[in-house]
Symmetry: C2
């Protein structure tokens, strides 16, 4: 049961012109696919964000892990950490997480779990205590956006999906357009919670969009807003109070645990985070300050599925809720998210996913289907997804040809608004 080979394949997947605090999504989002192969011919796979340095570090680490056993996962990951000990891994001010070490650890952990699941002929979730739910709920993820979908929903476009295929082409800026985007997405996927990615318009306009969603969907559909820490404490408190009657939670209104704690004490909505508390090292101060009520797990950012389960135990112990963060991703990442979601004893909120915005497929099984906003845990060994090698090759060609080597939403934004710059705190 030893690793005899590995392949690291960076890919570029078509992404629509979504707006965010960071600027504008480029036509491609970068991902990296890891395959490890055992001497027994069994392979394990994973998918991760492809920030600068990740593919190279992953290859460098894997080369030195040849001969290690995925069954000795704790030791294998400790060895990987040792190999990367010189790699700087600070989180920085970036709206998204580009830390190389956690991404490499996650890539390795998930690929090993996929391998072990296949080897023992059980699902990844069953390696980790089993599924406490066989269907994992996700939330609609709304984005301000420019015209164009960047790709077509060439798959699964049945009757209910057709409306969404058309709607996702449209521009979204006004509250009415937010409601239209949400209605089409909810119709197609059956989502029962809605999240709006904010930090794009002035805060009052984004609050207006939330109120419009509430008017349209009523109080039974939970609503979340995520301005990506772009607000001042004053704005966080002002908009937070305004939205108190209608929000399920407010995600990262401000930057830093101290600021989160101030806003949290001043408003009633729970505060969630994926930017202020993003590692085990951040937890003691988060607990001390009570800076957040909800931690967003993300197996890509916390070093794998198992660390996220441990994070959940900690959240349960310290009275924090659990939700899940998402980046643009394809089915291998989504499969891991579903397995994690299936394992978490206390899952308080529907999970985030970018799935409705993606138009590529990476696996033979194709995109997951949703039922009432939920995804069934695949009933196949490991993650339950198989790479489509033609699709992988084609997405790798995209990567080589698109010229992008890391995500730069600021540069992309400047193409439509010259002189635009990212600001860590904007309003």
């Amino acid at each position: 049961m030893r690793i005899s080979d590995y392949t690291v394949t960076p890919i570029a997947i078509v992404d629509p012109p979504l707006r965010a605090a960071s600027g504008l999504h480029a036509p491609y989002a970068l991902r990296v696919v890891l395959e490890i192969a055992g001497e027994d011919g069994i392979t394990g796979i994973s998918e991760n964000p492809c920030a600068q340095g990740i593919p190279e570090t992953l290859a460098r680490v894997c080369e030195r892990l040849k001969g290690e056993s995925p069954l000795q996962l704790t030791a294998l990951l400790a060895k990987a950490e040792d190999i990367m000990s010189a790699t700087d891994d600070s989180r920085g001010d970036s709206p998204w997480d580009q830390r190389v070490r956690v991404h490499v650890l996650s890539a390795l952990e998930v690929a090993c779990l996929d391998y072990l699941g296949k080897r023992f002929e059980v699902r990844v979730c069953d390696l980790l205590g089993g599924a406490v739910r066989e269907a994992v709920p996700f939330a609609a993820y709304l984005f301000y956006k420019e015209l164009g979908a960047g790709g077509s929903l060439g798959f699964g476009a049945d009757d209910t999906a057709r409306g969404w295929a058309e709607a996702r082409q449209r521009r979204m800026k006004t509250p009415e357009e937010a409601v239209a985007q949400a209605a089409a997405m909810v119709e197609a996927y059956g989502f029962q919670s809605i999240k709006l990615k904010g930090g794009v318009l002035d805060p009052d306009s984004e609050a207006d969009a939330i109120f419009a969603l509430r008017d349209h969907f009523g109080p039974e559909v939970p609503l979340r807003l995520d301005p990506n820490a772009l607000w001042t404490v004053e704005t966080g408190i002002r908009i937070g109070k305004k939205l108190d009657p209608v929000l399920e939670y407010l995600e990262d209104p401000v930057r830093g645990q101290e600021n989160m704690a101030i806003v949290r004490r001043a408003i009633e909505s729970p505060l969630a985070t994926n930017m202020c508390t993003t590692s085990f090292d951040d937890l003691p101060n988060s607990v001390k300050l009570h800076s957040e009520d909800v931690i967003l797990t993300d197996h890509h950012f916390w070093g794998g599925i198992k660390p996220c389960i441990e994070l959940c135990r900690m959240c349960q112990t310290f009275g924090r809720g659990i939700s899940m963060h998402s980046n643009s991703h394809l089915e291998v990442s989504l499969a891991a998210m579903v397995h994690l979601g299936a394992c978490i004893p206390q899952l308080d909120y529907a999970l985030d996913t970018h799935t409705p915005w993606q138009s590529d497929a990476l696996t033979q099984e194709g995109p997951f289907s949703f039922e009432d906003g939920s995804i069934k845990v695949p009933d196949r060994p490991g993650l339950g997804v198989t790479l489509d090698r033609e699709a992988l090759a084609s997405l790798n060609r995209n990567y080589l040809e698109c010229g992008l080597k890391s995500r730069d939403d600021e540069a992309e934004m400047q193409k439509i608004e010259p002189g635009w710059t990212f600001q860590a705190t904007r309003w």
Copy 2:
């Protein structure tokens, strides 16, 4: 992979007349052995303390778990918790842990892991991330005691063990006798750390024993003292300061997290606990008060091996050390302790075990052998131990014949010292 049958067997194992804060050990310590059987004919086993109510509750829960899959362990344990929801499970002032629910959960968890290990033909530790160490270090565990060993070391009594077989018969009360007990135990097992169970003599006499051990073994052998929370805060500080130069840690000098926090701030030795912080519910206040530096895991008390691994992640996150507690036990418990000890990434201290004091054996493999104080992780599927059915039947007869139904060190103590009563705080 469904549970089709189970057996709950209470047993009484011969125990020497060891002294403790609670009084005197009875001639028998009570344990309970759980066997679960799958439809596939594979069985899983575990061993637990047998406090009042545990065998009956275990049987009642197991009856309703027939048809459940050990692979769906989280859900299975949640169902068990539901069945026991009416069971009171407060820790109380008792020096040892008699909570029914955590013991039943632990019994189930370990038996399911043993089953799964056998089913997949891997070791229990390999179901949980693998062994970060193949030999797990234990500490010598010294006890004040009356004359008599309660049983003979009928096994493994090679040349180095013969001295211990003779020494363990002896009375232990003075510092000189403590050194003699330690020297014989260390000679036989190779232990490299020493713990003295205190709370028996006046605190200064116990401190004298520690100083005598230090004089004999020198500074390279770490020393611990555990008076089982019997001291006042004033005594804890006074004796703590006195022992600061020589202790690896001081375990539960006083009762309650608030008192522990006061003593901790006043002395230099790290404080460890197995009485003040004994469940996930206790952790938030422990973190807030910083009442301890070291948490003693015990898979019997924390609901199983996996919860202990999660506890370790929490300790690592919040800067607490990890050690392990022990009760009188046989090889099935010890095997689970070894697998847990093998899995913990950050193991700061040698683990406690009562093994040198036990004279019974429960498995075909017989008592574990120690090398330099460490036990090698068994290289067999599951826990790596197999019940010896004749031994089990004989130990069950002991249980039925000895008339004990729960541990009562006070009653036993009164047989040699009429009128003796347990006091939660004595000095």
